[in-house]
Symmetry: C3
């Protein structure tokens, strides 16, 4: 049961992150193959880093083709939709594009954070809260960070409201819920916490202090 | 015999990728030391990632200095040639520079793809076609990707014709030829397939669909 | 005794690199959370890469929170100082900012280089000089490289005088002093060599040959 839930969440996260990667690729005017590469990197990148630091060798996505296939298919769909509806990338409908990008990225962030914590727990690090939170956060933010670094755009993690913060809070919630309520409740609950934090941050335009540019 | 062929191909790939890294470094006006660093990273980077994901710890290039020494020497030669023949970097002869860069990068891509597949097979993953193709592709494109990300130029993998595609096709060909014809035929044949795909793509200016910029 | 010295040096290096990462983050106008992320990545990034290539799984900084906590605290302090003293980031006092950045980065480079060599030796690679030098250099330059790639600024390693060069010389000195004089002398002595090389390079504006831009 909990394996099925975990797998479903992984697939949802893979689709969401692949879509976000493909959207960045189309926005950068890459060809369909570059778009697919960026989609795949975004969706499997965080998990690859996680597996390497946990010593899961070779990393899961090298062994099971399903994630790569799903990510490639998602990227192709996103490419063709944006290719046929060019006005979504530029012009008046740009707002819809930005909103969809935010939603996909948030879903990926929330789900991969709890998947990362869950992987850490299943490999015997239940008692090491710090490691679990660190691994969850890296899994959550890793794919998007690779996406932005490879595409040469300013990383989302630095420019968007409360990004890594949402992932860290979600990971902490996941670890503590895991110990009290079991796997499924922890994964669903903690993902929801990440979504909520990012929704509130985007909706109310929460801003943390920063230096302003002089004008 | 096949170890000698493998070693010779590794050295050729190292020289080719080191030259491509050094050329990017000179083009970015780095000093001779930066040029060498970029040459070394380009030539050993893909193999380092491959060894980490296959659990070959510490990675091969940390153990055998020969690859680093060859890459450093190649980088120095490239630096001095371009330093004395400045007109190759800017001006009328720029086309020769671009063509040489394409050739070096293609040789590195083809050879490191098959070297990556070969390393995966020697570590017991013969039956896992997906993993072998993934590992081959990462070995092939990894060095050039690190090069471009570190130098702050748009990654070749996203901007050049059929780049990752050639590597993936080459890896698939390598795996299947390996099973039927043995190591040497697979490595030479699959490298040739990569060269051929990239040559045809560059010559006939194959283009995959992409969104155009509005003008 | 030597464990205490190692730990103190690691903490000093962590503070120095966290400060350099936070300064880059503030200079890029990131909010306080982005500044902390960049500070943490800069200070633990090099060690994480080192531990992965040496097979220390999970990497040390995932197990001991102290480095992350120190890096976060340092980043917050740097943020608030620069927030209250905005004139340090722009305007006449910019020179003080640049000088402080150079000092912090040099301290981090020197200390993490010897910490990297030391970690390699403690894991049984005493006889492999090449591997020790490689690991020391990667530990030293890795954090700053990740910082610059994530922040989208030209990597220090390519633009500053004699950067990787100082780290390599320091690592070689460390390995040979280790064999003759023991841990503490090697770590303190080799760090001092790195500081000295970078100080001399910055003071006398040593320049290695490079192609000039045409004007």
């Amino acid at each position: 049961m909990q394996e099925i839930i975990t797998f479903i969440m992984e697939i949802i996260g893979t689709i969401a992150f692949a879509a976000s990667g493909a959207m960045v690729g189309v926005g950068r005017r890459m060809d369909i193959f570059g778009v697919c590469v960026l989609g795949v990197v975004t969706s499997v990148g965080g998990g690859m880093i996680r597996d390497i630091v946990l010593g899961i060798i070779p990393p899961g996505m090298f062994q099971k083709p399903v994630y790569t296939i799903v990510a490639t298919a998602t990227s192709c769909v996103v490419f063709w939709v944006l290719y046929l509806k060019k006005e979504l990338v530029e012009g008046h409908f740009r707002e819809i594009y930005d909103r969809f990008m935010l939603i996909m990225d948030t879903i990926g962030l929330g789900i991969f954070t709890v998947v990362g914590v869950n992987t850490g727990i299943r490999h015997g690090y239940m008692d090491n809260t710090f490691l679990l939170v660190f691994v969850g956060t890296i899994t959550g933010v890793g794919g998007g960070l690779l996406r932005d670094m490879m595409a040469g755009v300013p990383p989302y993690i630095f420019v968007k409201h409360i990004y890594a913060c949402a992932s860290i809070v979600g990971a902490v919630v996941c670890v503590y819920m895991y110990r009290s309520f079991g796997t499924v409740a922890a994964m669903v609950g903690a993902s929801a916490v990440v979504f909520l934090i990012r929704y509130l941050a985007a909706h109310y335009r929460w801003n943390l202090p920063r230096l302003k540019r002089e004008d």
